[in-house]
Symmetry: C2
Subunit: 246 residues, 2 copies
DNA sequence: CAGTGGTCTAGACCACTGG
DNA sequence: CAGTGGTCTAGACCACTGC
């Protein structure tokens, strides 16, 4: 049905790729939202007039990218940052002692400003565009450990306020989903070591000469659209950043 | 054939998982070595008396873990660190300027010693076991940027020497494969920011107060056996550590 | 051209979940 | 129990590679 039956067609991509793209569309245009169950494999194979195996392969790929989550016997669901199991997928910090990290967020301020140079380009904004800068301090097990400055395009994220942020229980990415129906699916981080006394003072580091991890993160939603820039200064005395290479 | 046909069998795992384990065995026992082509799907399905689709699923999983590499029209090959395309799979550094990084390694020393405490446990060694400590400096585009101390169990890696290391062209992991037939398939890194003046001096950092990235890496070969501990001090003024979250 | 992996189908049966 | 995803098969055909 979707297949390129006539051999003159110049472009060609496997059927399951075409299905994958259609599913991706339904995800990004809001037909299915975070946490929703999507139609069953048999329904989808009827809808697209392909075999169940082909739908499976499309779903398999999306599941491996964490966009969908398969649950045997129940169905296939849209991935969400509100699920406890993947709640900390984007938090790479571990405790040196091995203990579980209890995170607490203290929102210091929200400020609307013209997008600073380094931020503007990453978000594809113009000089006229505004961003909201969220400043917050993350405490791990009661100890202030991370200072974050989060930049969001004001147009996409209107009415951000300290009050709203403070009252929400859960991760910021969970909040983006429930408040703006915007889901982050990918992020890239650049990590450096810095000696930043201003950040250190904010984190109440007594010894101002302590080195900090500086992390610049750019987060993307569907169609690889960048929607968040996040700057983080991490104290790594008691916690470290963990990365797995495969 | 492999299937648990009688329903009393207590343990059960899918056929393709069993096949995957058999393939894993052939990889770890040296039946197929790094870079080799493994038998074709039809051969394997005949050998294990299962359908080609079942073999495919087993191979697919191993390919997604980078243990095998599929090449259409040619065959399926054992992954290797000597391939140019995955040569730098375990090097996460990027240049701030975006330029390609040309790496040069200068081996400073090789020293055999009793395994230090922090190393011994990670490698599962006893107090009697020896390790070889390789000290080297990596330069990126001509500039000394990383100081590394690499700890290898002497029993598994006999006769490491500055001369041998210096004469090998390629990555250390490529050398492990060709010299010891030992392939790293996974690694975990712990990253911190430190202010380490000894390392800084070795890297010829003039300003001794510069912060460095300290990376502790543990590398694993088949069957999740840890075989290397690596400590690295990274200057991140011109280069940064990049990480992708998905 | 023969051999390899890649796609697609149709159908059977299993394992798990929830009502 | 009905409905979901998970496994497995057999077979057809396609796309790519190297000789």
């Amino acid at each position: 049905m979707l297949q390129n039956e006539n051999q003159n067609t110049p472009i060609f991509s496997p059927l399951y790729q075409q299905i994958k793209n259609l599913l991706l569309q339904s995800l990004s245009n809001g037909e299915w939202n975070a946490g929703d169950m999507i139609p069953s494999e048999v329904e989808l194979s009827a809808r697209y007039k392909v075999s169940q195996g082909t739908v499976r392969k499309a779903i398999d790929e999306l599941a491996s990218e964490n966009l969908l989550v398969r649950r045997q016997g129940r169905g296939t669901f849209v991935g969400t940052h509100q699920e406890s199991d993947i709640r900390f997928r984007f938090l790479s910090m571990k405790a040196s002692s091995g203990e579980r990290i209890i995170t607490h967020s203290h929102v210091v301020s929200v400020e609307v400003m013209a997008a600073p140079d380094g931020i503007r380009e990453h978000l594809g904004l113009t000089k006229q565009d505004l961003v909201s800068e969220i400043t917050r301090i993350l405490s791990f097990n009661g100890k202030p450990t991370v200072l974050e400055k989060i930049y969001l395009p004001t147009e996409m994220f209107p009415d951000v306020s300290v009050a709203k942020l403070s009252s929400y229980k859960g991760t910021l990415y969970g909040w983006f989903e429930s408040e703006y129906n915007l889901r982050m699916i990918r992020a890239v981080e650049k990590i450096r070591a810095v000696k930043d006394s201003e950040a250190a003072i904010n984190l109440m580091v007594v010894d101002e000469s302590e080195a900090l991890l500086f992390v610049e993160r750019i987060s993307y939603t569907y169609a690889d659209k960048p929607v968040e820039v996040r700057h983080g200064w991490y104290m790594t005395a008691d916690y470290y950043y963990q990365n797995e290479l495969i």
